[in-house]
């Protein structure tokens, strides 16, 4: 008896699998409904919202300085970058002059934060691929950065350090030496990263040519950050739409060419190296002086609206603030990079296997706190 191919396909019943909300490699409470035919993925449907806390609505009932703590809790891996984005927005509304020293300390801490975030990505991505060792090496380095943050801001994760007009308090006297020591460690450990995972044959076989997304598709989908750059689009908001004092530093922008998982991974690893260059330059120029522009009374920006774009570790973090002149914002809207990047998952997962779903999801480095807000 002859059975035609189409007949087989019609008779085949796909298996629907719920990946998440409780699954070890969904990086938070994220649910991905997958229809598989054997091991081949036929269709996926992402479901988000399990962590929706209504942060944007809560912002409307808090004063400006209180909102900074809410921004800490959006992207809880790149907190300082989030704080910076909101502060920049309000400072632009108020047309504040920020003291030089505060600017430099902000940049140093934000770049360290970026390294910490990428380190977390690196470790967890290894874990997704099945390699347990990179995770512990990465967390050791992240711990060093975390310790520095603790000594500067007083908290390991939820810093609440960047204030509107400057920073909360000055760094200690031996800050420079501490950071120099830290980045010496980091330089070695990033090379270690390459030895452990980047050039591992099996890792290459697993991640190359998986989850490809072309430059046009990436722009159309609004991908940002390392995921966009991996597709070969030259877009780093620190350079192309410079904010804070990033226009004073010389550093490289890693650009991928294929847009597969490995490119997205390696762009992040290279970005850590470039961040170290920024930190070194900033440390060399770190001036003395004031750390905050004092604001009398409550923060009351004038009436109007402002939109700033910043480059968070995950991508284009935009903040849109509408002020009605009172001490509370009328509307705050965040452009969460993870939220937008997650949209691309459906496209990336075409023609892949079930095991690739984990790696592709890992490679866009989502933080569910930011996706759901």
């Amino acid at each position: 008896m002859q059975v035609s191919q189409s007949q087989i396909n019609e008779d085949a019943i796909d298996l629907m699998i719920n990946m998440g909300p409780q699954h070890p490699s969904t990086h938070g409470v994220f649910r991905l409904v997958i229809w598989v035919d054997g091991e081949k993925i036929q269709k996926v449907e992402p479901h988000i919202g399990y962590l929706h806390r209504g942060s944007e609505k809560i912002c409307e009932s808090e004063s400006y300085n209180q909102i900074i703590t809410l921004f800490d809790r959006l992207d809880y891996v790149g907190n300082l970058n989030n704080e910076l984005a909101f502060s920049l927005a309000v400072e632009k509304l108020m047309d504040l002059e920020i003291p030089e020293r505060a600017q430099y300390i902000r940049v140093i801490l934000c770049e360290l934060n970026r390294i910490a975030s990428h380190m977390l990505f690196y470790g967890v991505y290894g874990l997704d691929a099945g390699a347990t060792t990179p995770m512990l090496y990465a967390f050791r380095e992240r711990e060093r950065i975390q310790e520095l943050f603790e000594s500067v801001t007083g908290a390991r994760l939820m810093h609440n350090y960047i204030r509107i007009g400057g920073i909360k308090e000055d760094v200690e006297k031996d800050f420079k030496e501490k950071v120099h020591k830290l980045i010496d460690h980091l330089k070695e450990s990033i090379d270690e990263c390459d030895d452990l995972l980047s050039n591992n044959e099996m890792f290459l076989v697993r991640t190359k040519d998986i989850g490809i997304i072309t430059a046009d598709e990436a722009i159309d989908l609004g991908l940002s950050g390392p995921s966009l750059r991996a597709s070969g689009v030259l877009e780093d908001i620190r350079v192309t739409d410079s904010y804070s004092i990033y226009d004073r530093f010389d550093f490289g922008i890693p650009i991928g060419s294929k847009g597969d998982c490995w490119d997205r991974y390696f762009v992040r690893v290279q970005e850590m190296r470039e961040s170290i260059k920024i930190i070194e330059q900033a440390l060399a120029d770190l001036p003395e002086g004031e750390i905050i522009t004092p604001i009398k009374g409550m923060v009351r920006p004038p009436k109007g609206e402002v939109f700033v774009r910043t480059e968070s570790p995950r991508g284009d973090l935009g903040v849109f603030v509408v002020s009605d002149g009172s001490d509370k914002p009328y509307r705050v809207k965040v452009r969460p990079p993870s939220f937008v990047n997650l949209q691309a998952l459906e496209l990336m997962l075409r023609d892949t296997y079930l095991a690739d779903a984990v790696l592709v999801l890992g490679s866009i480095d989502i933080i569910m706190g930011e996706v759901d807000r």
Partner: protein, 379 residues
């Protein structure tokens, strides 16, 4: 069969179980310690002296734990599955010798018996996957079936080459053939294939596809808890030990190569020590690989097995038979085998060389971007 004989078998069975369970338990400790060294950690260190009692604590905890039964599960299959995995792991030890004479049944078909029994493990895994009534478990069970059955072929073919060399299926006899040269020197290719296929049979990284934590959430074991889960892991570590022992017996010269000095019982003792040392070395290698590699994808695993290992293992058998038939020197066999091992490694590395790292990512400096013409005004 009189009462005494029946008692004897019970005592033997009890001994095998107790000794193997103890070894398996301490393999878990060894694995955790080895991984800890690789990962710059301490590993377990609080229970007993330097964590020496940790396996005991784990065991007690697992036995006391609540044993959950998913409401949709197929109960009979669900409860039988752990036994179906554990029993073959124990049964293999009927024919495996530790040293000359220390073996339950020195059968002439020992090797045949072991290969036959080792296939049974698949049944248990598929049963566990099916009985759990969980999609991830079914997925894991099916992966296990595909993986274990495919790697059974190179596993057996590499053993076959050894059996041909030794002209025997009796394990003691095979060891005693290696007094001058261990078979790894004559058959390095068979050794490599046996070891890789053995890893796949065990389901260890990089072949732990059927119970991959980050993909199928533990595969067939996802719904098991407490003592039943412990039984699966007991079986897995017993199998690890078995594969290490078989590698030692078949390729590394067991207890006779290199020959231990002295006579009498001291000689026997040293031989057993040598045997154990080799076994532990092989186990250490298995754990080392676990700490180093990520896992493969199922289709890559299958392609590796069917396109590379199976043809090479058949080729190995053919070459061995030619050498034996025409009575060539075994050095010829050695040379050809080493050459083919080189071919195998070349093909493995060639596969990944296709993906030369660093090539696709370039770095553009920021000053270059700032000066870029596109930056200038187009309007």
């Amino acid at each position: 069969m009189n009462f005494q004989e029946i008692l004897k078998y019970f005592v033997y069975a009890g001994m095998i179980f107790t000794v193997l369970a103890g070894i398996a338990a301490y393999l878990t400790l060894m694995e955790r310690k080895v991984l800890a060294w690789i990962q710059q950690r301490m590993g377990p260190k609080y229970v007993g002296f330097k964590g020496i009692l940790q396996p005991l604590a784990d065991g007690i905890k697992l036995v006391i734990k609540e044993d959950l039964l998913p409401s949709w599960s197929d109960r009979t299959v669900y409860w039988i599955a752990p036994i179906a995995v554990l029993v073959p792991a124990l049964l293999m030890w009927v024919a495996i010798p530790i040293t000359d004479g220390i073996v339950l049944d020195d059968s002439d078909l020992g090797l045949f018996y072991i290969t036959a029994i080792s296939v049974l493990t698949v049944m248990g895994l598929v049963m566990a996957g099916w009985g759990s009534a969980n999609k991830w478990a079914v997925m894991g069970g099916l992966r296990a079936a595909g993986q274990l059955v495919s790697y059974e072929i190179p596993f057996i073919m590499s053993i076959l080459a050894i059996a041909m060399l030794a002209q025997s299926l009796n394990l003691t006899e095979i060891v005693n053939q290696q007094t001058t040269f261990a078979f790894i020197l004559k058959q390095p290719l068979a050794f490599v294939i046996f070891f890789i296929a053995g890893l796949a049979e065990l389901g260890r990284i990089p072949f732990d596809i059927h119970h991959a934590e980050s993909e199928v959430v533990g595969g067939p074991f996802v719904e098991y808890s407490g003592a039943h889960w412990a039984v699966f892991y007991l079986a897995e570590y017993m199998n690890t030990f078995t594969v290490a022992v078989l590698t030692t017996i078949l390729f590394l010269g067991g207890w006779v190569w290199p020959q231990m000095p002295f006579e009498g019982s001291l000689h026997d003792f040293l031989s057993i020590l040598l045997f154990m040392f080799k076994t532990v070395a092989v186990i250490y290698l298995i754990f080392w690989i676990r700490g180093t590699y990520p896992r493969l994808r199922i289709d890559q695993l299958m392609a590796f097995g069917w396109k590379l290992l199976v043809p090479l293992s058949f080729l190995n058998v053919v070459i061995t038979s030619i050498v034996l038939f025409y009575g060539f020197s075994h050095f010829v066999l050695s040379a050809v085998s080493i050459f083919l091992t080189g071919v195998l490694f070349y093909m493995i590395s060639n596969r990944s060389k296709k993906y030369d790292s660093g090539e696709t990512v370039r770095i553009v400096s920021s000053s270059q971007v700032r000066d870029n013409q596109n930056f200038k005004e187009p309007l």
